[in-house]
Subunit: 153 residues, 2 copies
DNA sequence: GGATTATTGAAAATGGTTTTCATTACTACA
DNA sequence: TGTAGTAATGAAAACCATTTTCAATAATCC
């Protein structure tokens, strides 16, 4: 906006955190890729262009980014945590989830998202005040059986 | 209601699953205890009265109960999956979550739950049809920094 | 430059969860 | 009642995502 570099850089300097190649690459991949990347997903993508970056660094960076509120960590219960950019200007946009408890398939949906987000916004305002939280994101997931799995059981 | 035994027993017979002492004890504990029990929480409680029941059985039973839609598994990202009864007549009731991403504190809230659930119900109906899912539960969590943690960062 | 501090990779450790396997308990059926 | 077949179980081992350790390297501050 002011030609000073990526939007997240000020968060780094604010927190006295250095902008390194590894961190830049990881953020770029999160920015360019559809959602739900796990740490090893990211590792494999990073590895193509930067084979010198280890998995440990991926984990450390993701935790750092989570603390700085650049990234949101989610856990859908399939054994891998997933990460997505919180404040992604060019990204896919906000969505909710529909999860099959049997085959673990995850569907992202955006239908009704406006109505939902509107309603959740009111809740968020209320909760922020009542519990004195600084809320910056939410997760909405529906659980059930998908087309295939519901006929089997 | 009809004096035939607990509400979940028919689900067992429907699925040709035997009602064993271990399963009964686990369900009772889930019924009698406030939410968010992890597998090892349950194990420790079970161990008091039934020291012969192993942790493996706890995990196996919980997975079974999840498949039978008696229990819902949640993962808040703190390293332990949590379980709660889906259709708990005498239980604490439905609630949503407010989670601190820094200290991992989880607050259950029921404020605004009616408005939220009403709104989510419409979404659920829509999604069920569009994606041909059999939806039986949802998870709503707000993420942010709690009173203590937001002043530190 | 030189000291301090942050960052990193490899390997090892951790710890929740799952699998294996041999044993036991239940059920169906004669 | 036996007896076969199947389900359920515990203990130990395996699994695997994530964290920690530790020694080496890179950036920053004077």
């Amino acid at each position: 906006m002011h030609g000073k570099g990526p939007w997240w850089q000020e968060k780094f300097t604010q927190n006295c955190v250095r902008v390194t190649a590894a961190r830049e690459v990881i953020i770029n991949i999160l920015h360019d890729t559809p959602d739900h990347l796990s740490a090893s997903d990211i590792y494999m993508k990073v590895h193509v262009t930067n084979p010198d970056i280890g998995l440990t660094t991926i984990y450390r960076t993701l935790e750092l980014l989570e603390q700085m509120r650049i990234v949101q960590k989610f856990d859908f219960g399939d054994g891998h945590a997933r990460y997505e950019l919180l404040n992604n200007p060019g990204g896919k946009g906000h969505h909710h989830h529909l999860i099959c408890v049997k085959c673990k398939k995850i569907i992202d949906y955006k239908d009704f998202i406006d109505e939902e987000v509107n309603c959740l916004g009111k809740t968020q305002d209320f909760l922020s005040q009542k519990y004195n939280f600084h809320i910056n994101d939410h997760l909405v997931s529906f659980y059930g059986f998908c087309e295939n799995c519901k006929s089997e059981s």
